[in-house]
């Protein structure tokens, strides 16, 4: 039975359907037609208000004029009709249905709500609750806030709009990966990406390496998690709203996988009424926001660039010395070559509507955007259908299906010297890279076998495609007045394929860059790969909710639930080198390289019980307990219990509260635990041997990492205190959260003494802690008939540190040379390394010729050292190391100002990330190879000869200030209102994204990360494509 589940899921679906049809044959009741208009205090109709007949499944929403019609099968009796919507305080009206009448008119008047207290929050419950009842902070971002910038995907659109989140686009490619950190990182070894749920279905957000496959690509070093992440598949135009749960205190109900928080996305659904057609089209233009200045020195050191390219740090002769003679050269700016002005288009068409029993939303979209790197682009087709069907008074079901097909033309990612960015960073800018020989072949770039950027832009072909289906079906039963049962099944299935083709070079290229060196070795020259990742996931969620009114002032809500998730992944990759001319497939390789074939399966199941008490609608208490088990952990550690407790009290609803200008004061506190059930790979707890083809035989090699079969999931404990306040009739709203989030039993691949036979041990060690606060201010400084000004400010402050990890220093060897460290008591992922010797006044200690020196002395411990000078004042002793920088920002903030004048709207969003350091590997490389401005100074004699060579090894030289304030989004829109019979509304808009950055960063853009979506490699700039500045003009019409 248990095995059957995984092999034939349809069987389980059949079971549901059978049960379902059994149940349909019940209740036959009278049809009632209910109509009315919902108005605000000024008497204007409010669109989008949900109208629900309580304790039944009948519901609808108001149209643009605030009117609604609801046909419900109701037996005669007393009912309550509930009116609710975002920004308004919910209201209830009684309804007496008699056998005599079929038509009823019921209107309502809603007050604008303070802080959206009565807004329904679905996340964390099945039935939904109101914000008022929540003991923890949950933020909601609505579609209107999401779709005003030029966002290519849902996560980009969310940047700066939710408190406690740091959302970073790690790469400026059109589908560049995006990482989301809610209240800092929540792991070291595993992903810190939140759990994503779309319409109740867990959605995979993996970063699969179907391109950038080459094994020599990152050597033995740790490269991070690079490439597209799969949330890019979700079309932002389909999103109705996003709810964000920052930590365990809020997310305990998702216990098993919620360590990094939860982001729940709700897509648009149909509403009763005439079909509504929405069409929008946008035209986008992107360009490099800021380039870097290049060396303009007329001379280089040493001889011709063809025989001596790396002139700043290469020695000649015996004994080896830096040459001081110079050669005249022509300088180029290769940025002009690899970058371009890119265009794109985003088109969406949706039809929605329905009657009282059936509602639908159907959409189609086509998005295409070019990258600012030549010959890169990304396109996505998406189709979606959402259906809500009411069967009768107590049964309804929903179904949704989303098909996505995306394709990207890429270039190799950073982290390798054959990516567009790295290729221009690793050569002096004095080579005529476009020059060809008589046969039309490109020429070698200097003597070091570097890849010519022209080969990368013109000849490399790297492409990936994804075909994905997200499907969900749910049934909701209300067998009695107070009991609701929900069942949802969701499937996420995709196939992601990629091909990489690095054609054989016609010139000397390093074998490490898949060249054939010189003389060219045909059996090594060129690289090709084809890879596919097939992912399948099914999840089942069953919940029952029982609400009981225990007394006039005490209501109890009890909820039980069970969930099951199963996932299966198969990654397969073929690769080869030494390519035949023209052929672009692996079959054309003369040397077939070791393929990959990796398969995994895992399952997670859990059950929970949650109890809420509402006391006089002012005091709310919730407690929950949950048990989960995951197949990836050891048998004895498999089942984990998580608890949650939260409460809130609305002081301003108390009888004694009589401050008119202060109309809301709510206090809340929450505690919760959650786990990390997917914290390690499916089989990571076993000590295993990897297989390799070696000299025509099989070689088995034991892993460098030792495993522990009894490893257990990380456990997060979070305490959160907060308050919500509103003043001046809710013209000013204020929210404050303070939290302490601690992840215990931290899974660390801890460095072990090599004499154990292993380099690291993956086990539970110590904790990490995030402490911080969030402030959200919403204000409406001006609100008049024609003009209004709304303002939202968000401030997030987070401090992260490693606690009791039992090891003074864990230093990771990274691809970018970044000395990323985990140090007791320090933030995770700090840069730890060598630094400049300084005297007491802080000035650099230099040699007689003016070259700065590395600090030396006595290193007492990881964080303590004593500099030392010899008789000549020169640093002596061992090379010292200290914490050089921190890639975790001191704070992030955003400020949104929205102005509307009649039908004209202007929205301006500024995002700030401050107090953050970046490991600027590229900047140093540019000086070392001679295309940077420091190199220019040395070549022009403004710096002593040997300056760059002298400071090159000092790691502090690569630390850069990554703080910035960006004009993240600006949009101007004009809404015509109804235009004749055809248009219900027409909106014309012009917007921009990332247009300006105020920073002191020495590279292109401080907001990149070459470690991609990696948890621990943050703030590393090693060949990532900078985030473009984008402009868009668009039209959106409603019919």
């Amino acid at each position: 039975m248990t095995a059957a589940l995984h092999e034939s899921p349809p069987k389980s679906v059949r079971g549901i359907l059978m049960a379902f049809f059994l149940l349909v044959s019940v209740a036959v009741v009278g049809q009632v037609r209910l109509t009315g208009t919902v108005k605000d205090a000024q008497g204007n109709g409010i669109p989008g208000i949900t109208v629900t007949v309580k304790n039944t499944s009948f519901a609808t929403a108001t149209d643009v004029n605030g009117a609604y019609t609801l046909n419900a099968g109701l037996q005669p009796g007393r009912y309550t009709v509930h009116f609710s919507g975002v920004g308004f305080r919910a209201a209830e009206e009684p309804l007496q249905v008699t056998a005599a009448a079929a038509d009823y008119v019921l209107g309502a008047s809603l007050e604008r709500s303070s802080k959206d207290l009565d807004e329904v929050i679905v996340t964390g419950t099945t039935q939904g609750t109101t914000r008022k009842q929540l003991g923890s902070y949950v933020s909601t971002v609505s579609a209107s806030d999401l779709n005003k910038g030029v966002a290519a995907n849902a996560l980009q659109a969310l940047q700066g709009k939710t408190a406690g989140a740091q959302i970073v686009q790690n790469n400026g490619d059109p589908a560049g990966g995006i990482s989301v950190r809610l209240r800092g990182i929540s792991s070291i070894s595993s992903s810190s990406e939140p759990l994503y749920i779309v319409d109740g279905v867990i959605v995979n957000n993996a970063t699969n390496r179907v391109t950038n496959t080459a094994s020599g690509y990152d050597g033995n070093n740790f490269v991070g998690t690079i490439g597209q992440n799969r949330m890019t598949d979700i079309n932002p135009a389909d999103i109705d709203r996003i709810e964000v749960l920052n930590g365990a205190a809020a997310a305990a109900i998702y216990g098993s996988r919620a360590n990094a928080g939860v982001i729940q996305i709700f897509t648009k659904r149909g509403k009763t009424g005439a079909p509504q057609i929405n069409f929008s089209t946008n035209f986008m233009v992107s360009k490099l926001r800021k380039s870097v200045p290049v060396n303009q020195s007329p001379v280089k050191f040493g001889g011709s660039p063809d025989v001596f390219t790396q002139d700043l740090i290469s020695t000649v002769g015996t004994p080896p010395a830096l040459p001081t003679n110079t050669t005249n050269v022509t300088r180029y700016d290769y940025n002009d070559y690899i970058f371009r002005t890119a265009t794109g288009t985003d088109n969406n068409l949706s039809v929605s509507g329905g009657n009282d029993l059936t509602k639908y939303y159907v959409s189609a979209s086509y998005f295409k955007n070019q990258g600012i790197i030549k010959n890169t682009d990304y396109q996505r087709y998406s189709l979606r259908a959402n259906i809500d069907q009411t069967i009768n008074k107590w049964i309804s079901f929903t179904a949704g299906i989303n098909y996505v097909n995306s394709a990207a033309n890429e270039k190799p990612d950073g982290n390798s010297f054959f990516s567009p960015m790295n290729s221009i960073n690793i050569i002096g800018n004095f080579h005529n890279i476009w020059e060809r020989d008589a046969l039309g072949n490109l020429k070698a770039v200097g003597e070091r076998g570097r890849v010519n950027p022209v080969s990368i832009i013109e000849d490399f072909k790297q492409r990936e495609q994804t075909s994905r289906v997200l499907a969900s079906a749910g049934i909701k039963l209300k067998p009695t007045k107070n009991l609701t049962i929900n069942y949802t099944v969701g499937v996420d299935n995709y196939s992601q394929t990629g091909t990489t083709f690095l054609p054989p070079y016609a010139y000397n290229v390093n074998t490490a860059f898949w060249g054939g060196a010189f003389p060219i070795n045909d059996s090594l020259n060129g690289y090709v790969s084809a890879a596919a990742d097939n992912f399948y996931q099914i999840n089942h969620d069953l919940t029952a909710n029982y609400e009981a009114k225990l007394s006039e002032n005490l209501v109890s809500v009890t909820q039980v639930g069970y969930s099951l998730q199963y996932e299966k992944n198969h990654y397969i990759m073929a690769q080869g080198r030494g390519l035949a001319p023209v052929v672009q497939t692996v079959a054309g390789a003369s040397t077939i390289l070791t393929p990959a074939d990796s398969r995994s399966e895992m399952s997670i199941s859990g059950a929970y019980l949650q109890q809420t008490f509402r006391v006089a609608n002012k005091l709310f208490l919730t407690g929950a307990v949950r048990m989960d088990g995951s197949s990836v952990f050891g048998k004895d550690q498999r089942n984990q219990i998580y608890t949650k407790l939260s409460g809130s009290y609305v002081l301003s609803d108390a009888k004694f509260w009589n401050i008119d200008s202060w109309n809301l004061f709510k206090l809340r506190a929450a505690y919760g635990q959650s786990g990390n059930m997917t914290g390690i790979g499916a089989y990571d707890r076993f000590n295993s041997y990897s297989t390799n083809a070696y000299l025509g035989k099989t070689a088995l090699v034991s892993s460098t990492q030792q495993a522990n079969v009894n490893v257990k999931p990380e456990r997060q404990e979070e305490v959160e205190f907060g308050t919500d306040m509103a003043f001046l009739n809710s013209r000013i709203n204020f929210t404050f959260n303070y939290y302490i989030k601690k992840v215990n039993d931290l899974l660390i691949a801890r460095t072990t003494a090599p004499t154990t036979g292993f380099s690291s041990l993956l086990d539970n060690f110590g904790s990490l802690e995030n402490k911080g606060f969030e402030i959200v201010i919403n204000a409406t400084p001006v609100r008049s008939k024609d003009f209004s000004w709304d303002l939202t400010a968000i401030y997030n402050h987070n401090r992260n540190k490693a606690v009791k990890i039992g090891q003074a220093l864990t230093l990771l060897s990274t691809n970018a040379g970044a000395p990323v460290a985990i140090i007791e008591g320090q933030p995770i992922g700090v840069f730890y390394g060598t630094f400049f010797a300084r005297d007491n006044s802080g000035a650099e200690v230099k040699t007689a010729t003016g070259i700065p020196l590395i600090e030396k002395g006595v290193q007492n411990s990881v964080l303590s050292y004593a500099p030392q000078r010899d008789g000549n004042g020169v640093p002596s002793g061992t090379t010292l190391r200290k914490v050089l920088g921190n890639p975790n920002p001191k704070y992030t903030a955003s400020l949104v100002n929205e102005f509307s004048y009649k039908r004209l709207g202007l929205r301006v969003q500024l995002d700030a990330v401050q107090g953050v350091d970046v490991w600027n590997a590229d900047w140093r490389t540019r000086q070392g190879v001679g295309n940077g401005k420091v190199a220019e100074q040395e070549q022009m004699g403004l710096l002593p000869r040997g300056y760059i060579n002298g400071v090159y090894a000092i790691e502090e030289w690569r630390i850069d200030d990554g703080s910035f304030v960006k004009l993240r989004e600006i949009s101007l829109s004009y809404n015509t209102g109804p235009l004749g019979k055809a248009f219900k509304g027409l909106t014309i808009s012009a917007s921009g994204r990332n247009l300006i950055s105020w920073d002191h960063y020495k590279g292109y853009d401080p907001e990149v990360n070459s470690g991609g979506q990696s948890t621990i490699l943050r703030g590393i700039d090693f060949g990532s494509v900078p985030i473009p500045a984008s402009f868009s003009v668009g039209v959106s019409a409603k019919f």
Partner: protein
């Protein structure tokens, strides 16, 4: 009706929970576990073959790292790019080399890894019924275990006594003796029952197991001062046989891959091979064109050649010349000078055609009756004959060369060891 609904709902709920009961044990189809590997002779043999892979492949392998570290420290090599931090430290030498050095950490880490897995193989084979199969596994694994112990003993004053948690340390001379014990055990098994064809076809066939065991025994005996033992072992080596680490397109020659083909890490210092003027190679020495390439147009002029000239070039596990010079040295130290001189001249007069690898000086014989002169000439011949073999630092110390000729004597223990093993000895001053 209400009853009916309750019943239906309960029925649904129950059926869901039952079907959703969940499987939690999945086996890994990708990789065998340790227990599975050492339950099967084929898998265990593949681990033995894997030792050579770990030893030889990539810039992180022992082969590359020992040539790299030894070459910079003894002035055989020059640095091509200061961006290679580990090599920059080594080429600067002295206190610039610290416990973060990645090249040294690679030697340390790979050596211990190989010892750990070699022990697994040897323990498994020792318990096998089939002695002719087991002897092949033991012989092969012993080569890489001994090389790993020996390599550590060349670079560090003290070396780990075993593998495991908080291991103790022994003097490096005891390290060489330990390597000899490992080799003796292997020699004993292989000579008692010659490896059968089943085990040999599963192991890299380019390795001549018995000759390599004897050659390495001679090497570590001479290093540890056991001249008679070195002489006896050297006599056992058949110099007409090759024994190499093979390479192909799936397993590139590591020095070629990282240094020769890139011209970005190291190149030979020049045709003096870094020897002082008094010991510089004879202009007619035919080993210089064997080991050093010339690029007349693109800097640097002197290029890596020898056993690292192509991606598939095999690298000998020992050279006949080394065995001959071990004999010469042992004889000289045993004060059997005429015999020593003969053995030395056998190397000096060997032509490329007379050597299985083409390494031949083709020089006239050397004449001297002075022990010190003979020993110095042996040192000089070793430096030339064994260029870029990773052995020169040990030779410099054994032959008492002045400290100025090298950039460091011994190396600091990697931080990964010191931070996690309280028994790690103090670092040497230089």
């Amino acid at each position: 009706m209400t009853i009916n609904k309750y019943f239906s709902s309960t029925w649904m709920l129950a059926s869901l929970v039952v079907f959703a009961a969940c499987k939690k044990d999945y086996t890994n189809p990708n990789q065998p576990t340790t227990a599975e590997v050492f339950a099967n002779e084929r898998a265990a043999t593949a681990v033995a073959g894997g030792l050579q892979r770990v030893y030889s492949l990539g810039a992180g392998g022992s082969l590359y790292a020992t040539i790299d570290a030894n070459g910079f420290t003894t002035n055989e090599l020059i640095l091509r790019n200061a961006g290679n931090t580990g090599e920059l430290q080594l080429s600067t030498g002295g206190t610039a080399v610290d416990a973060t050095n990645t090249v040294m950490a690679n030697i340390w880490t790979k050596s211990n890894k190989i010892i750990y897995d070699a022990d697994n193989v040897i323990d498994f084979a020792a318990a096998m019924q089939d002695g002719t199969y087991a002897s092949g596994m033991i012989g092969f694994a012993s080569i890489y275990k001994a090389l790993s112990i020996g390599n550590m003993s060349m670079f560090w004053e003290k070396i780990p006594d075993s593998t495991g948690a908080n291991v103790g340390f022994i003097d490096r001379m005891d390290g060489f003796r330990k390597a000899i014990k490992v080799l003796d055990f292997g020699i004993g098994k292989v000579t008692a029952s010659a490896p059968n064809s089943d085990v040999l076809r599963r192991l890299p066939s380019e390795v001549n197991i018995i000759n390599t065991l004897y050659a390495l025994k001679a090497r570590y005996a001479i290093f540890s001062g056991d001249n008679a033992g070195a002489l006896a072992a050297a006599e056992m080596v058949d110099l007409s046989k090759t024994s190499t680490i093979a390479h192909n397109a799936l397993g590139l020659n590591a020095v070629y891959e990282s240094a020769t083909s890139t011209n970005n890490v190291f190149q030979p210092v020049d045709s003096t091979l870094g020897l002082p003027v008094s010991l510089a190679p004879d202009l007619n020495d035919q080993r210089i064109p064997f080991y050093i390439g010339i690029n007349p147009t693109i800097a640097p002029r002197y290029r890596i050649k020898g056993f690292f000239a192509s991606s598939s070039a095999p690298v000998p596990l020992y050279l006949p010349g080394e065995v001959m010079l071990i004999k010469a040295e042992a004889l000289a130290r045993l004060d059997r000078l005429p015999e020593a001189l003969d053995a030395l001249n056998a190397v000096r007069t060997k032509t490329p055609a007379q050597d299985v690898y083409g390494v031949g000086a083709g020089l006239p014989a050397f004449a001297s009756a002075d022990k010190n002169e003979i020993l110095t000439e042996i040192y000089r011949q070793r430096c030339i004959e064994l260029f870029m073999s990773g052995l020169k630092l040990e030779d410099m110390r054994r032959f008492g060369r002045p400290a100025e000729e090298r950039k460091r004597n011994f190396f600091p223990y990697p931080f990964s060891e010191r931070d996690n093993n309280g028994n790690t000895p103090a670092d040497p001053a230089n």
